[in-house]
């Protein structure tokens, strides 16, 4: 049986223009890495958006795997700007193999 360890997976929905701030916060929290995936469209309190790539108002998902404490540190760091910058943050526990990497 392989061994797995528990890590936090954090996914942050952010404006493309804010992505640099988020990845900077991840680096600052001492987390080893992050991955960005594209987003097509969505709806929230501010209404629907779509086809925004041309206007530079599109969004991306930024996901990162981190140990519990670093994940909480990241969440603390981002909490004050979540509303102001329109970020959406969810996190949950996942099992990873080779946990020493994260």
């Amino acid at each position: 049986m392989i061994e797995t360890v528990i890590r936090k997976r954090i996914e942050i929905l952010a404006d493309q223009a804010q992505a640099k701030h988020v990845t900077q916060a991840i680096d600052d929290a001492g987390i080893t890495g992050w991955t960005i995936t594209p987003v097509t469209s969505g709806k929230g309190r501010e209404g629907r958006w779509r086809e925004e790539r041309v206007m530079g108002t599109d969004k991306v998902f930024i996901l990162t795997i981190a140990p519990q404490e670093k994940a909480m540190a990241l969440a603390e760091a981002l909490a004050p700007v979540l509303t102001q910058r329109g970020l959406l943050l969810t996190m949950w526990d996942v099992e990873v193999i080779r946990g020493e990497r994260f």
Binding site: D15, Q16, A17, Q18, E46, G47, R48, W49, R50, E51, R53, V54, M55, G56, T57, D58, Q84, R85, G86
Partner: protein
């Protein structure tokens, strides 16, 4: 807006824009992939930049160029001021949104400019090549002005001024427009001949498809919109009217030819919907794109393309006292 205006309205460029509007209002699922639309907008900027640079390489520069650049930059700083005042007062926007919208109206729309050039050329009044450089330099001043207006709110202290200045000076459109302009200037007409089929001959066709997409996006955005009030709609029509007259008069007063004066009018009348929204997302994330993008893209852009460019062209003929006869 008689014969000239009608001629403009039957040009394929404008007709494709209308097709986009109609298709979206009829809730058709017609859509251009985002990567293609982005690619077309880069192509249009590279091509217009090149073309301007080549014309300048051919014709050389005279004293009016500096005057035109100064007029453009000045207008870019001043237009946001009264726009902000109107948007806060009559438009009832808060400080941040008023500043963001003001930045859009002080800056320019490359595609409005390009469409206007096509129409003015049809009418026999092509603007000078250096107007492309004027356009490129007018992208940024209004971003600065708008941010200064919004900043009083103090919400962006964490956004370093250095980062902001960088964005303003090196944003993608400015770099591509000025870079291609420089390349056209260096390469000159001979260097250009090899790339003419791509950057020259194809230009108008690409513009057609791009405007089809803009029509689709503008109409869909207004249908999804929640934040637009009649006051904001009124401003989104009044500002381009006023700014168009001011810009054209400014152009005529500093001695530009008919086409160039009209082009300056269109630059003042146009509102950014590519470069400035991207900058606002970074520097003013609290501002609502449902307000600024819907105003500039869904109201002002169609108004300019369908009506205001024609008005400005006619005004410039009157103000400069010449220009090609109406065919």
């Amino acid at each position: 807006m008689d014969a000239m205006g009608i001629q403009a309205l039957t040009s394929p460029v404008v007709l494709f824009f209308v097709l986009g509007l109609l298709a979206a209002f009829a809730r058709s699922d017609l859509a251009i992939p985002e990567a293609i639309a982005k690619g077309m907008s880069l192509y249009l900027m590279a091509a217009i930049g090149l073309k301007g640079g080549i014309e300048v390489a051919e014709s050389g520069l005279d004293g009016t160029v500096l005057a035109a650049l100064a007029a453009g930059i000045g207008a870019g700083f001043i237009m946001p001021l009264y726009a902000y005042w109107i948007l806060k007062g009559f438009g009832k926007l808060d400080r941040i949104n008023a500043g963001a919208v003001a930045a859009h109206y002080g800056s320019i729309s490359v595609v409005t400019f390009v469409t206007a050039i096509e129409i003015f050329e049809l009418q026999g009044n092509p603007p000078e090549g250096y107007m492309v450089a004027v356009m490129a330099t007018m992208e940024s001043p209004a971003i600065l002005a708008g941010l200064l207006l919004a900043r009083g709110a103090g919400s962006n202290e964490d956004q370093s001024t250095k980062e902001l200045l960088h964005e303003v000076l090196f944003n993608a459109s400015v770099v591509l427009l000025l870079g291609a302009f420089a390349i056209g200037w260096i390469a000159g007409p001979e260097g250009f001949s090899d790339v003419e089929p791509f950057f020259g001959a194809m230009f108008k066709g690409v513009l057609c498809i791009f405007l089809l997409d803009m029509g689709l996006i503008a109409a869909r955005r207004i249908m999804d919109s929640r934040a637009l009030t009649w006051r904001l709609v009124a401003i989104a029509i009044a500002l381009p009217l006023v700014n168009g007259v001011i810009g054209t008069a400014l152009g005529a007063s500093i001695g530009l030819d008919t086409g160039s004066a009209a082009a300056l009018g269109v630059l003042c009348a146009s509102a950014s919907y590519i470069a400035v929204p991207a900058a606002m997302r970074m520097a003013l994330p609290e501002a609502d794109p449902g307000v600024y993008l819907t105003m500039s893209l869904s109201i002002t852009f169609p108004f300019n393309v369908l009506i205001n460019i024609g008005l400005i062209g006619a005004l410039a003929v009157m103000m400069t006292g010449n220009g090609a006869a109406v065919p």
